[in-house]
């Protein structure tokens, strides 16, 4: 048996053990035992993924009760990469859970489901046939639904979130089942090798592509199939939301890559255009919603829609460019897509874990009631801040490298010969740019309003720092964000090999050279340059500081008045107000201003109350009518069944006629 096979077997064994331990251990020790056991599952996965990523072959074949249907797990390099990403996130989440999970979040069900969830997510990228892929997919979906309900199953918002999630995730499953069925019928088997034998130019491949991409987009949270995401992520326990947002949505991206790169490579150009438009829309809508929302975890959830949108956009650009023969730019776009996956995994996990610490330390996740946490939660603030830099794609973090690669691929992709590309690529650049700009605002808001300034509520004023295990996970996540950003060269080379892209080389100390498009980036050299110009500044500051070493504390400027209360600060709502006005049509906010006049005179105002709600336009326009119609049909349906035997006989007769008609025609 090969090392990869041993690793896969170890995952299965440890996963079962972890679930059993979670059920058997008594309440007091469960979080410790469960955390360690889940970490072991993740560690086994990380080793397997690392081996597969480095090119080790091998796998595991598990016979089933059905004759001729074996479950084959044989990860290739791309699968290995996703196993590695999922497992590293799993490890962070398990360590964090050691300190975070208490009460209902540390129940038998919760820890058991987490182990199964991790196992399911490790199985999906390892699968080498459609059946084991779908089995892993469903395991992951069911376990995550259970986890969603783990903490506060009795609250109606959580129940509604779980319902939305369950419906959308099953919709995704049905679409995938149909898509794989089409491919399997044409290819003559369920193994990926058989599926890949389908001609990508055939109509069957086009049908399968649309079905599969919709199914994967649903799981990845791409607009307009994102509606479950901003509901489910805020309500799940924070370490679970980190796993869902950092790892699970990546499975959707993995699926899209699987279809575009491994199963049906060389599809027509419009496939790329579909992915690009889907991704671009998702990126813009996601970040726009994120920038105006005030609930910290909801903000992060919408930002996931944005990042996944960018990944789909990159993949779409890669497919479209490849179809028009621009392989250099296509390869760069593909590497950009995987870099986005890795970077998003790192910073989004850290952000959700940070949000968990905030929730743990204050009991609040509404930014309008937070503030000043930097002083009371320095570790969380530092880690969250670094992750925010990554999410805003500023140098020198992982997000910056990923976005730079994507932009370089795009600007070298346009060509006068191809009209489709000549229109699509500039639009894509503009979308990426606007997304980047809004992401900047979003994360300045999240960090600045949450962690700087003065506390806006007593809960925020009495915040306490997270426990050591939580801090460890946070710091490790933040370190990953920085390391991936400082040393992109080796990372990009490994990733390029995983997606089969050539023309990516290391340069300088750890820089990346996209020879296909003739651009290079060396963050280490950039940092050295910053240090070189920074030293004189610091020297000058030190000289100036000799005269006045300490800063006196003075009153904040209040237009001559000393009455400056924390309530006069800008909140998250007011911070995004200019943006809400600019994008009024797209967001359609509902505002309510209530003015109470003083009894003495109606020219004196006693109280003003302002309320603003920004709903989800896509949900209101696309889903509500469908739900209303389903409701309407449901209400009318009992009318069919009035108890009259004559009517039932009539129905049977009509049904018989219909069957006969179908049979004859």
């Amino acid at each position: 048996m090969t090392p990869v096979g041993v690793g896969l077997l170890a995952q299965q064994g440890l996963g079962g053990l972890a679930a059993a331990l979670a059920v058997l251990t008594p309440d007091r020790a469960r979080s410790r035992v469960g955390g360690v056991a889940c970490a072991a599952v993740a560690l086994a996965g990380a080793v397997t993924g690392g081996l597969a990523l480095s090119g080790a072959r091998g796998g595991l074949v598990m016979p089933t009760a059905l004759a001729g249907v074996d479950l084959t797990l044989r990860p290739d390099r791309l699968g290995g990469l996703f196993i590695l990403v999922v497992s590293v996130i799993g490890l962070l989440v398990s360590v964090y859970g050691l300190g975070y999970a208490v009460g209902p979040a540390a129940s038998r069900t919760a820890w058991g489901a987490l182990a199964v969830f991790l196992l399911g997510m490790q199985q999906v990228p390892a699968a080498a046939d459609a059946v084991s892929f779908l089995l892993g997919w469903e395991t992951m979906a069911l376990a995550s639904t259970v986890l969603l309900l783990a903490e506060q199953a009795r609250r109606s918002r959580v129940r509604s979130a779980a319902l939305w999630y369950a419906v959308m995730t099953q919709l995704s499953f049905v679409l995938l089942l149909a898509g794989f069925a089409v491919l399997a019928a044409v290819g003559g088997g369920t193994g990926f090798a058989r599926l890949a034998s389908v001609d990508p130019g055939s109509p069957a491949a086009a049908v399968a592509f649309v079905l599969l991409v919709l199914g994967f987009a649903c799981k990845a949270g791409v607009v307009p199939l994102h509606v479950w995401l901003p509901r489910a992520h805020p309500e799940a326990p924070s370490h679970v939301s980190a796993a869902m947002s950092g790892a699970m949505v990546n499975m959707g991206v993995y699926g899209a890559l699987l279809v575009g790169v491994r199963l049906l490579p060389g599809g027509p150009g419009w496939w790329g255009a579909v992915l690009l438009v889907l991704g671009g829309g998702s990126a813009l809508y996601g970040i726009l919603q994120a920038s105006v929302t005030t609930d910290l975890k909801r903000l992060l959830a919408y930002s996931t829609s944005e990042n996944v949108g960018l990944m789909f956009l990159a993949l779409g650009a890669a497919l479209a460019l490849r179809a028009s023969g621009r392989t250099g730019a296509a390869d760069a776009a593909l590497v950009g897509c995987v870099l986005l996956v890795v970077s998003h995994a790192a910073f989004k996990t850290t952000l959700f874990l940070g949000a968990g610490s905030v929730l743990h330390g204050t009991g609040e996740r509404d930014l309008d009631r937070l503030g000043g946490l930097g002083a009371r939660m320095p570790w969380t603030a530092a880690a969250f801040g670094v992750a925010c830099l990554g999410a805003a794609s500023l140098p020198v973090t992982s997000g910056f490298v990923a976005e730079w690669t994507l932009l370089q691929a795009l600007i070298h992709g346009g060509s006068p010969g191809d009209r489709l590309l000549a229109v699509l690529i500039p639009v894509a650049v503009a979308v990426v740019a606007l997304t980047a700009g809004l992401a900047l605002l979003t994360f300045v808001k999240a960090y600045g309003v949450g962690f700087l300034a003065r506390p806006r509520s007593p809960q925020a004023a009495q915040a306490h720092e997270a426990s050591p295990a939580m801090r460890l996970a946070l710091v490790a996540g933040a370190a990953a964000v920085v390391l991936l950003g400082v040393l992109p060269g080796p990372v990009a080379v490994v990733l390029a090999r995983a997606v089969g892209a050539s023309s990516v080389h290391p340069v300088g100390l750890a820089g990346v050279d996209l020879t296909g498009v003739g651009a290079l980036l060396d963050p280490v050299a950039l940092s050295v340059l910053a240090a070189a110009v920074g030293v004189p500044v610091l020297v000058a500051a030190a000289v100036s500081a000799r005269r006045h070493p300490r800063r006196r504390t003075a009153l904040t400027w209040g237009c001559g008045g000393a009455r400056v209360s924390p309530r006069m600060q800008y909140t998250a709502t007011s911070y995004a107000e200019p943006l809400v006005r600019v994008f009024d049509d797209a967001l359609q906010p509902v505002r309510d201003v209530e003015v109470t006049h003083a009894t003495e005179s109606r020219y004196l105002v006693e109280r003003v109350r302002f309320r603003q709600r920004v709903g989800d336009v896509v949900e209101a326009r696309a889903y509500r009518p469908v739900l209303a119609m389903a409701h309407w049909v449901g209400e009318r349906a009992p009318g069919l069944q009035n108890g009259s035997i004559h009517r039932y006989l009539g129905y049977s007769f009509a049904a018989l006629l219909a069957v006969l008609l179908v049979a004859v025609l």
Binding site: P395, W404, A422, A436, V444, L452, A525, V533, A554, P578
Partner: protein
């Protein structure tokens, strides 16, 4: 190659640090004279800096380490941009080419530092300035990147020194419609990014209309000095870039001392001319209402977008 480009970067940094306060002084002086005032003289920004560095910095109640770090970060980001951009010459550093995406990202680091500084003080004005500043920055971003894209198409690279060198080699490309559209779009973006009229009024101190001034309200002493110098450097670097794109003549193509001397003199001249033009332009212009700014930026975006599509579909 490496040493000569490092020498060029060092020359640029020293020159622009020396010239940028003068540039601001010229802008203010031209404006003052046209408005019928005597004006403080060209050297006033330098005297302000010296004064601020000698003064005691104060700290707002509840402020964190950001209040101390942000000014330094802004200044360092501006210095890195100055070192990278092709101002005096077009000899790029080998491992850190002046890729415009990198330059924009480094500028954004400064933007974010300033925005966080505004929020840190916990005053209503700081938050207001920070919010407006980030909104404008977010909306400028598409214009900048699409304009860069348009400029990069003829050269096949987003490296600025290559773009400027190509314009030097084929002067007719400077006046081509696509390049003009792109440069105009970029110029509007530069005005917005550096907080000049009609987007923000640099000389206003009316709390409800200011953007930049609102964020630095709580800073004093050397903190304020770093903030001011950082913003001036940013203005000088971006004006210099626009100047070199519009008139690439005179930039040093090698790092020999005579070439550097000529390059330094020429870029100083360009900067001062552009600064005077900026000052004169600001006299006849009023500040736009904040909610009209998106229209201006959308207009500049359309110009940039036209430049890109034109270079694909018309040529």
């Amino acid at each position: 190659m490496s040493w000569s480009s490092a020498a060029l970067a060092a020359v640029q940094v020293v020159l622009v640090v020396a010239v940028s306060p003068v540039l601001v002084g010229v802008t203010r002086q031209v404006r003052a004279r046209l408005e019928g005032r005597v004006g403080p003289g060209v050297g006033q920004p330098w005297r302000d800096l010296r004064k601020l560095l000698a003064k005691e910095p104060l700290r707002a109640e509840g402020a964190s380490a950001v209040a101390v770090a942000a000014p330094v970060v802004l200044l360092v980001s501006s210095l890195v941009v100055v070192a990278l951009l092709p101002l005096v010459g077009v000899v790029a550093l080998p491992l850190v080419p002046d890729d415009l995406f990198v330059v924009v990202s480094v500028l954004l680091v400064g933007t974010v530092a300033l925005a966080l500084l505004g929020l840190d003080s916990g005053s209503a004005f700081g938050g207001m300035g920070s919010s407006r500043h980030m909104t404008i920055a977010a909306l400028v971003e598409p214009t900048v990147l699409v304009a860069v894209y348009a400029l990069s198409i003829p050269v096949g690279s987003s490296t600025l020194s290559l773009i400027v060198r190509a314009r030097l080699d084929t002067p007719s490309s400077v006046a081509s419609p696509t390049s003009l559209l792109a440069v105009v779009a970029l110029a509007i973006a530069v005005l917005a990014e550096t907080g000049r009229l009609p987007v923000d009024n640099p000389s206003t101190h009316l709390e409800l209309t200011m953007v930049h001034e609102a964020m630095v309200l709580e800073s004093s002493g050397r903190d304020l000095a770093w903030l001011e110098l950082g913003s001036w450097l940013r203005l000088a670097a971006l004006l210099g870039l626009v100047g070199n794109l519009l008139a690439p003549w005179g930039v040093a193509t090698s790092a020999t001392p005579p070439a550097l001397l000529v390059g330094a003199v020429v870029v100083t001249g360009k900067l001062l001319v552009l600064g005077a033009a900026l000052g004169a332009g600001e006299v006849v212009m009023a500040k736009l209402r904040l909610f009209r700014v998106p229209e201006l930026l959308a207009g500049s975006f359309v110009l940039a977008f036209l430049a890109v599509t034109a270079s694909y579909l018309v040529v």
